[in-house]
Every structure is written in C-alpha cells, then in structure tokens.
C-alpha cells in the first residue's frame, strides 16, 4: 500500500513554488477559520472541492471519504451540547441544545472537513522533497529540515520492517485475527521491541555514513533542487490573501456567524 498522498500530475497547482504552497495552505486554513455559519462554511467547503478538482486531488478526497464524512457527523453530534445559544430546541437536565448550537455544530463539522481537504490538496500536489525545501527556504533551520525529511524517508522502511516482523511472528503461530479490537491491538505491542531495536541500530550506521561524507549540520549548503517564485506564484498568493481579507472583513461586519465565537 502506498502511504504517500502525492499524485504525480501536471496541474498549475503542482507547478507552484513550494513556498507558495506552504503559505497558500496557511491562508486557506485562515479562510476556513473565519466563519461559523453553516451556509458560509458550505461555500468555503465547496470552494475547496473545486480547488481540489483543479489540482486533480479528488482521488485523495475519495480515499479519505470515510474520515471526511465522520468529521462532519461526529462534530454535528458533539458540539450542540457544549456551545450555548439563545433559542432552545431541547433540554434534559443540564444538557441543552439550541438552534444556534446545532447550526454551529454543522459549521464546525464542515470546518474540520475543510481543514483536512486543504491539507489534502497541499499533500496531493507537493512531494516530500519540495515540502522540506519550501520549509528551508521559509527559514526552517537545515538540521531540523534534514531530520524531518529523513523521518519521511524512513517511515515506509520502518512500516515495511514492522510488517515483516508481524508476518514472521504469524508464521510462528501468533494469532492476530482473534479477540476484540483491543485484544488484537495488544498483540502488536510486544512486536514493538524488535521494531525498536531494528530502527535504533540504524542510527549509528547512518551517523557514520553521514560524517564520512562530511555532513556538518551547521555549515551552509548548496542545492540541486532550486525552484523559483514566478508570476503565477505571486498571483496565487495575492488571490488567496484578498480572499482571506475579504472573508475577515465580512465576518467583522457581522456576516457568517451564528454564535459570537471563533
């Protein structure tokens, strides 16, 4: 199974500079945060679906469809009991549901799903290398970026090693299929020991390999991958900034809110 979400397409979104994508997704998060009215949030969510279609990221939306649906349902069920509104619909003891809290709950479900959708668009159009490089160009210290990219590279390796360890134990008679879900999860815990040892053994060898090649975390570096900001990047950032400011302006004018809270 491929755990990476990147989709190798050639859309305008894929061609943007990684810095634009990092800042752009933060602006999208900002837009998602502004409103708490379900109709306004539905418009934002629809906009993200259209953006996802333009970026050819919809296959990942489909892959995450259960999570996206659960986010909306769960939030809609949970929030009415915690947000208070002036128009009561139902009450039982200390529990109370109001018209506003119900609408707020739907909006929060859409907000949560919109966050995930914005993240999915970003991850569908950005390779790990571009992501790391974008963070470095935005000022992240190189050693931190190096650790991040190395971890990204090692995740599939360790996941594969974990799967091999599980298969080896199954071939020796370990039964991971029986019992309830907690018992089954518990059977995986002892398998953490060989995975841990396997992974930590890598550390010394990897450190020696890096040092033998002159790795020095504090030294300045040159880059093979060197993306440049183009006109399309500036246009994309300008459009997103205007959208964010417009949304903020509307909210400050009293539009798009059912409750006076974020």
């Amino acid at each position: 199974m491929n755990i990476f979400l990147y989709l190798d397409e050639n859309t305008w979104f894929h061609r943007l500079d990684p810095r634009t994508k990092v800042i752009g997704v933060l602006l999208l998060f900002g837009i998602v945060m502004v409103f708490n009215h379900p109709l306004y949030m539905a418009a934002v969510a629809l906009g993200l679906v259209l953006l996802g279609a333009a970026a050819k990221a919809l296959p990942n939306f489909w892959r995450m469809r259960y999570i996206l649906a659960l986010l909306v349902v769960f939030s809609t069920v949970l929030w009415p009991f915690f947000a208070k509104g002036p128009t009561p619909l139902w009450s039982w003891g200390r529990l109370e549901v109001s018209r506003e809290s119900l609408m707020y709950a739907v909006a929060m479900g859409l907000r949560l799903a919109s966050f995930v959708a914005a993240g999915l668009i970003f991850l569908s159009t950005t390779t790990n290398e571009e992501f790391t490089h974008g963070l470095i160009r935005l000022g992240l210290p190189y050693p931190v970026a190096f650790a991040f990219s190395t971890a990204l590279r090692l995740v599939p390796t360790f996941a594969g090693a974990g799967a091999t360890i599980v298969q080896a134990q199954i071939s020796r008679g370990l039964d991971v299929e029986s019992g309830n879900i907690f018992q089954r999860a518990g059977k995986f815990i002892p398998l953490g020991v060989p995975l841990f040892i396997y992974a930590v053994r890598h550390t010394n060898m990897l450190a020696m390999a890096l040092e033998s090649k002159g790795f020095n975390p504090g030294e300045p570096r040159t880059w093979y991958l060197n993306p440049q900001m183009r006109r399309a990047d500036y246009i994309a950032l300008a459009v997103l900034t205007v959208l964010f400011l417009a949304a903020l302006f509307l909210r400050l004018q009293g539009y798009g809110q059912v409750l006076p809270r974020l």
């Binding site: 998060f29 966050f115 650790a147 971890a151 360790f158 907690f182 890598h202 010394n204 975390p217 974020l262």
Partner: protein, 249 residues
C-alpha cells in the same frame, strides 16, 4: 531546555530525532483508523507506548522526534490541519517532560539521570511522569482545538490524558526490554551522546517541574470536571503554566 537547542549540533542526535519520528509516525499511521475516538482528531493510540520510552532514552531527540512523528502521522493519516500546530507542541511536551522531570521533580526524583529499573521508586516516578506528561499534552492540544472551535475542551483533554497515560504505562514494558541494549550495546543513551557542556543545567528546574505538575493536573481536572463552563480560560492559564515550567527545566 538548553539541550533541546544544542542537540542540533550533534549528528547522532539529529539521526535519533529522525528515527524516533519515523517509528512513532509508522505506528501512528498503522493504527490511525483502527479505533477512532474522535474521528480526525484522535484515536486509541497504540503508538503512544513510544514517546515516554524515547524520552528517557534519547532525551531532547525524543521531544523533537515525537513532535515531528505526530506531524508526519497527521500528514500521512490525512488529518493535517491547523490543529497539527498544537499537536506538534503537545507531542513535543510528551517527549520532553519525562526526561526533563526525571531529575527535577524533587523530592520524588533523586536527581540522577540513570534509570534504576530495579528500584520501585523509579517506577513510582515513571507512573507519575506518565500521567503528568500526558495531561500536559492533553491540556495544550485541547485548549488549542477549543480556541479553533473544533472539539470541546472537556471531552478532548480527558481522552488524550487517559489515552497517553495508558500508552506510556504499557511503554514501561518496552523500556525494560530495550534499556540495556541502548545503554550498553548501542551506547545511544542521550547524556552519553551529547557533550556535557551542551546539556547544561536548568535555570530553576524544581520550580519548573512543579509548575508543570500544577498546570497539567489543574488543566485536566478543573477544566474537564470542576469548572467546565470556564474550560477555555482554565486551558489558556494552565497552558501558560506548563510552557513556562517547561522552559525553566
């Protein structure tokens, strides 16, 4: 706190950050959709057996490794969003507090870095730190998600605290199994890997440790059960206490 910054000069510590992050992320992804508690926010985290073990073995590398690992788990699990920012900070604390408080939470701690795994007092400290670091992680994340309006604070703080505490307690078995290998065979215990001058001494470690204890327990119990109507304010105040306390250690 000094070691958290100076460790980035050390190649082995950088690799340990990557290894901790990758193990944690791989386990998070493997169990991401197995038993969801709040879909898209948290689940039964089998992976949480790792951060406290990492912390006591690899010190500051575990703090960064847990934070980055959780971020990667969010990215690959499809739940990357604005909530991931405080997920990063909360998991940083989950990896930072156990090793930092192991020597500073006096008089319960004896001030020695070496883990005396045969001594019952070490295990009492282990259990206390499992609860405190989990509650601190829960308070910080739940406060942020309440601010964002995503999940109510009283619900999430309790789920994260209990979830992480159980994970850390089960992790004790893992620690027993691997401590000797890491300490004596691989020689990767953090205070051996780092230079003594890079580790430094905490400015006000004992005060910091107790601020974290007060912040974590007050944030959880008051915010979730006693004054849940004022949960956000309690969450913000106790988060500040936890962060200031962490900085002092």
């Amino acid at each position: 706190m000094k070691a958290v910054i100076t460790m980035w000069k050390n190649t082995r510590m950088i690799i340990l950050v990557a290894v901790c992050a990758a193990i944690y992320a791989a386990a998070l992804i493997a169990f991401k959709t197995a038993i969801p508690l709040i879909p898209g926010i948290t689940e039964v985290r089998v992976a949480n057996i790792f951060p406290m073990v990492f912390s006591l073995l690899f010190g500051p590398a575990a703090a960064w490794g847990s934070a980055i690992g959780n971020l990667i788990g969010d990215i690959f699990g499809g739940t990357f969003g604005l909530g991931s920012i405080f997920g990063f900070i909360g998991n940083f604390l989950l990896g930072y507090l156990p090793y930092a408080m192991w020597t500073t939470l006096k008089p319960i701690a004896d001030g020695k870095r070496e883990l005396a795994l045969g001594d019952w007092r070490s295990w009492v400290l282990y259990i206390i730190l499992a609860l405190i670091s989990s509650a601190a992680c829960g308070v910080v994340i739940a406060m942020w998600l309440e601010v964002l309006g995503l999940v109510p604070y009283p619900v999430l703080v309790t789920i994260i605290t209990i979830n992480d505490t159980f994970g850390s307690l089960i992790g004790g078995l893992l620690l027993l199994a691997v401590y000797g290998v890491v300490r004596r065979q691989l020689r990767l215990i953090w205070w051996d890997v780092m230079e003594p001058e890079d580790i430094g001494k905490p400015a006000a470690g004992v005060l910091g440790a107790w601020l974290v204890v007060v912040g974590a327990l007050a944030g959880w119990i008051l915010g979730a059960y006693v004054l849940s109507g004022q949960a956000l304010i309690i969450g913000i105040i106790t988060t500040i206490l936890i962060l200031v306390g962490s900085f002092l250690m």
